[in-house]
Symmetry: C2
Subunit: 427 residues, 2 copies
Amino acid sequence: MAEIDPTVVAHVAEIATDARTASRQLALLSRAAKDEVLLALADALEVATPTIVAANAADLRRGRDRDLAVGLLDRLMLDEARIAAIAGAVRDIAGLPDPVGEVVRGGTLANGLEIRQVRVPIGVIGMIYEARPNVTVDAAALCLKSGNAVILRGGSAAGATNLAIVTAIRDALVAQGISAYAVSLLDEGGHDAARALMTARGLVDLVIPRGGADLIQTVVRESTVPVIETGIGVNHVYVDAAADLDSALAIVLNSKTQRPSVCNAAESLLVHESVAEAFLPKVLAELGSAGVTTHAGGEVSEFADAAGAAYGIATDADFGTEWHGLEINVRVVPDLDAALSHVRTFGTQHTEVIVTQDRAAARRFTSEVDAAVVMVNASSRFTDGGEFGFGAEIGISTQKLHARGPMALPELTTTKWIVEGDGQLRT
Amino acid sequence: MAEIDPTVVAHVAEIATDARTASRQLALLSRAAKDEVLLALADALEVATPTIVAANAADLRRGRDRDLAVGLLDRLMLDEARIAAIAGAVRDIAGLPDPVGEVVRGGTLANGLEIRQVRVPIGVIGMIYEARPNVTVDAAALCLKSGNAVILRGGSAAGATNLAIVTAIRDALVAQGISAYAVSLLDEGGHDAARALMTARGLVDLVIPRGGADLIQTVVRESTVPVIETGIGVNHVYVDAAADLDSALAIVLNSKTQRPSVCNAAESLLVHESVAEAFLPKVLAELGSAGVTTHAGGEVSEFADAAGAAYGIATDADFGTEWHGLEINVRVVPDLDAALSHVRTFGTQHTEVIVTQDRAAARRFTSEVDAAVVMVNASSRFTDGGEFGFGAEIGISTQKLHARGPMALPELTTTKWIVEGDGQLRT
C-alpha cells in the first residue's frame, strides 16, 4: 500500500487533537445545554437553506457532468423541503433522552462500596461515508447529543454541499460557546485524508464507515482505529408452511421493492415446498409486474413456467449477492431446517424474516437465526433507527461487538464504573 | 512477518469449525441445563485433583529447570485447596443469572410492531493467556454459562496442567451430552497456533488476550479477529487537599503493596501540595518499610530527604511505566487540575483513585477522569470481576468499545433485535 502523504497525516492529526479537546468540553455539557445547541443548529440549517441549496446545485451540476447515476443524483439532491426535514430530525434528536449519565447497573457491595456503571461519551468519532448529505447532519447531531466530537469525511460528490452544511453547523456551535472542533469536515487531502483518519490510532476512538460494500471493506481492512462494520444485507424472507399467503405476498413485495437500493431490502425469498404451488405463481407474477428479475433455484422453475414468469437460474454466487436493485433469488425449501441452513450459509446477519402463523416455527426462527434483527410477519424494511424510534441512525451494525443493528445515541457511548467508598481496602 | 505454518492453520480452522457447531448447541441450552453442566464440571475438577496436581508438578519441575521466577511458579502452582477454590468459582458462576435471553430494552411501535433487544451468545471465543491455570477454568465456565464455545491457548509453562484440566472438563461435558468442542485447548503448534487463532476471521468471533503488555500488544497488532484489549494499568492514587490522611496512607499502601504484580495495583501517587508536608514523610517512610522503591518528581525530594527515604528521580518514562512490582512514582501537584492533567497524560484508562472528603473535588474527578473505573476513597485493587460480584472475570477491558472494566457474563454476549408483527409494511 502506498504511503499516506505526511502533510495529510499531520493535518488530520491536528484536527483530531483539536477534536479531542472539544470532546472534553462536550462530555461535561448538561442535557439542557446540548439540546439548546441542537435546536440552534436546526434553526441555523434552515436559515442557511439558500447557501446550502446553491452549493448543492454546484455538486449536482458536477455530478451530471460526470454522468453520476440518476439514483445517486437523487440521493445527493437537497431542496428546501429536504433541508426542513433534516432540521426536523435534529429537533427530534434534541427531544430524545440524553444517553450520557444513564446508570446501566449498580449496587452496594458487601463491604459497603457503592458501584455504578454509567454511560459516558466515546470521545472522537470518525465518519467515512458516501454521497447522502443528510448523513452529515445526522452524524453531527447524534454525536453532539451523545457528547462526542465528530470528524466527517463525506464523499467528494457532495463536497460543496457538505462544506456549506458544516460551515452553518460550526457557526451555530461557536455562537453557542461550543468549540467549532466539535464537528470537523475533512474536505481536503483526497483519499489520503480518509486513510489518515482511519489510522489515527490514539487520536480517534472509533471509525464508522457508511456506504457500499467496497467502502466498508476498505475501512475494515485498513483501519487501525476500532471500526464498527455497517450495513451489508443479504436478507431473506422465508415463507413458512403455515404462512398467511396474502400477508406473505405483501411482505415479500414491500421488502424487495419499497426501496430496493438500501441494505434492509430483501435479496432472497425462501418458500416452504408445501405452499410453493399456491404461493410461487402469484409472487413471481407480482414480482415480475413490479419489474423484479428472478434468479430461481432449480425447484422453482416449474412454478415460474406456470406463472409465465421470466427467470434466470440462481447460482451460489447469486444467493450470496446483495442486489441493491430489482432482482431477487428464489428457492423452494423442504422444511424450516433447510431454510435455517440456507440463511446460515448465505445470510450476512443483517435482517431475516419469517412469515408464519405457527408459533413453534416463529420461536425456532427467532431463537436459531443469528442476525442483528430477526422478524416475524413484518417487512425487512423496518430495520432502521428512525423506524425503531431512535430519532435517526448513524448506521446499522452487522458485527457482534459493541453494537448490533441500528445504531443511535446509546451506541455512541461507552461506560465508566464509578466506585465510592470510605476507605475500603482489599484483604 | 513469517507465514503461519499451513498445517497449523488447517488444524485451528478444523477446531474452530467444530467449536462453531458446538456453539449452536450451547446457544439454545436453558439456564437449568447450563447450570447442571457447570456443577458437574466443578465436581469433575475435584475428582480429577490427583491427575491435575501430578500434571502441575511436572510443569513446576520444568519451570524450575528453566529458572522461572518464583512469582510465576507461585501463579502456576495448583494444590488441592486451590483446585477446590477454582471448583467453587465454577459453582458460583452456576449460581449467577443467565445473561442469555435478558431483554435489554424494547417496546411497541406506533404501527403495532413489538420490538425487543435480547442478549444472545457471541459464538466462538478465543482466549490467549499466560501461566495462571485458573484462567483455563474461569474462561471455560464463563463461556459455557454465556452460551459460547471457547478455544483456549494457554501459556506453554502450564501445558501439562491445562491439558489435565481441559481433559477433565471435556469428559464432564460429554457425560452431560454436550459437545467436547464447547471447550477446546490449542496445545500444539507453538506460537503459530496462537497466530492462527487470532487470524481465523469468520471462524472465531472474538479474541481476548490476557497477560503481560507484550502479549496483549502482539494480539492487538496481529489479530484480524475482533479483539478486546485487556489490562495494562498505570493507575494513580491522587491524595487531595481535603483527604483524610490516615485513610489515604492505608489506601496508597493497599493499592501498591497488597498484590503489586497485577494490573489493578497503583503505580503512581499524586499528592496535593497543601498536604505534602504532612503526608509525604509518612507515606514515603511506610512505603520504604514495605520495600517499595520511590521514583520521585523533583518537588518530592525535600520531603523524601526529611523522611530519610531513599528515592530515585522520576523521568517521564517512569510516570508511564507499569512497574508490576514494589516501585512507585510520586509527584506533588499544585491542584486538582494538575492531577487531572497528569492522569490524562500518563494514565492507561484502567483505574484512577481520588482520596478526598471534598464532595466537589470527588465529583470533578469522577466526571472528568476518562477511565474504566474511577474510585473515591477506596483501594485500586477493587477493580476486579470477583470483587464487583461478577463471580469471576475473563479479563479487564481497557478499551472503550463493547466492554470496559471487569468483564464477565453480560460482556460475553451480543444482542439480537426480535421484531414481531402481523403483516406490517413500510410506506
